[in-house]
Amino acid sequence: MMERSPNGSRAPYVARLESVGRCLPATRLTTDKLMASTRHHTRIDLERLTGIHERRVSDGHEHSLSLAASAAADCLSRSRHRPEDLELVVSCSITKYRDDLVQWLEPPMSVAVAESIGAVNAVTFDLSNACAGMLTGVFVVANRIRRGEIRRGMVVSGEYISQLGVNAAAHVRSLMSRELASLTLGDAGAAVIVERAPDGARGIEVAGFTTVSQHSRLCFAYPAKHDLGARMFTNARAIHRVAIADMPFLFQETLEAAGLEIGDIDYVIPHQTSARAIRKGMGEVCEALGDTPRHQAVVTVDRYGNTASTTHFVALVEELRAGRLHAGDRVVLVALASGLEIGFVLFTVDEELVGTYGNDD
């Protein structure tokens, strides 16, 4: 399903990204150190395979809620809006840990995040869509803004997910291990405020998602039976194959909906699984579409690992902080997640969003 903006009387408004924030734990865990902790002698060169040099991990004091709340506070510190102006807070994390590794199923995480930032007037709920969670949240919030139902809402996530890597380190034996992907994970929080754009602004031009559910059994994660936290089992090669097969068609569909070609796109921010997979996947897309975006695909997985549902906004903040994004740049955020979820959010960066990081070093 796809939404273009504006779209007649039923959805006359355009949504834009007003501000974005993130929270990264201070502790760095290098791939060398993680692989040195495996119980079995694996002979796996994970850094060469994935391009991941290090990731940030909680030292036990940070968890899903605190990462989400800190990212939300960071986002608000860069925003024109006060917490009480938020009409909606949607929490989209896979992990819902508080009190270290206690997974809270009820009450929802969104209630606690809203309370911690003082969003006293916000309607709250959680949604869960694996690593496509935050982009799904943006899609849902933008829908309400486009119809004029609300003016602004926050999409937030906190992922304390590195514990899956700790568990995997105790079980991985070889390259064929289904827990290998767990060793790529890192912790992070991210938040974005989506609001109604001024008349004439481009904002989010197109957003579209589909679930290719015949591949829904390629990745499972659930609480471990006898290990602290959870475990994840992934057929990463098969996911990569499906992504390469399906992505060009869906990317093309998104571009056509916006009346654009791939050469009109300045930056593509894909889900961050592995630097090698991103470069190979984008290469296939570009070959199929007959051109390339103006810049290479954004890669942050080398520094932060795969931070699950937060990767796109961790990377977006990275690009804004580095001053690489400019007003008028067209950016495509590409979701690829267990399910198999494939989604695109195509938006134009504006002066105000660039300005939210204008004073950072």
Binding site: L101, E106, L127, S128, R147
Partner: protein, 292 residues
Amino acid sequence: MATTIEAVAVASSRWPTRRSARKLADDAIRTSVARAGVTTNDIDLLLNAGLYRERILGEPALAALIQTDVGANPEDPHDGRHGTFSFDVANGTCGPLTALQIADGFLRAGTVQHALIVASDADPGRGLAPRFPFAASGAAVVCRWDDDGGGLVGFRWETSPRDGDLLRARVAFERGRNVLRIEEDPAFGERAAAWAGKAAAALLADHGVGPDDVDLVIPSPLTAAFLDALPAHLGVDGDRLVTVPGADRVHTAGLLVALAAAHEQGRFGDARRVLLVSASAGIVAGAALITR
């Protein structure tokens, strides 16, 4: 012009320990889709609002597995097929009402033609949930946009974080294994009814309607204390509430089970103004109004 509820169906089991939340969802969807006179390939948006499923699966969204089971456009995308988008909504027993609002949004925008909401819970199995308190049950509704008829006209929500300790469900590591514990304070039902009453009052005020103008109230069954306290907080007679014997052990599917009962009793079709009311851990409380 409004989102209408096309069909609703319930799935339950006399063998609570033998059923899975996913299969209950599958059964409810197949029945609801057949009643709506459509096929699962007609479903553009599939939202799962259930919480307690096999192994307490965190990834992928259970909605994706359900989508495969029921055959809602599971195949790789190709020309001429619109596909199905599915994901999970987690808002406790308010999940179906939240999902209904999300579906209503995409139907209102004309983005989708048919949306399906399903909710189910069952013991996660494998010893994860000792004394799991909820009945194995599931329910589904099919919604579509109606250019001519009446339907959903609005939603309202209230949140009370200071009551957040009254119902908690947590998975924690105890004596060498992960265990789900669900704790409910005896005061939860009454407090939840009070917040549901506030949400409903605000909604009715939005639409210039008084409690006396409401023909039918469809509440999430939640607990007996909730249902006992609710009429007074809503300002309506108890006989206008739809109640389902034994449904107070039904968790996320509760609102949809009550909706199905209203259909079966012939009360839903006859009512001009219907109030849907739900409350859950948080405390989060919500209300929706259907007018014809």
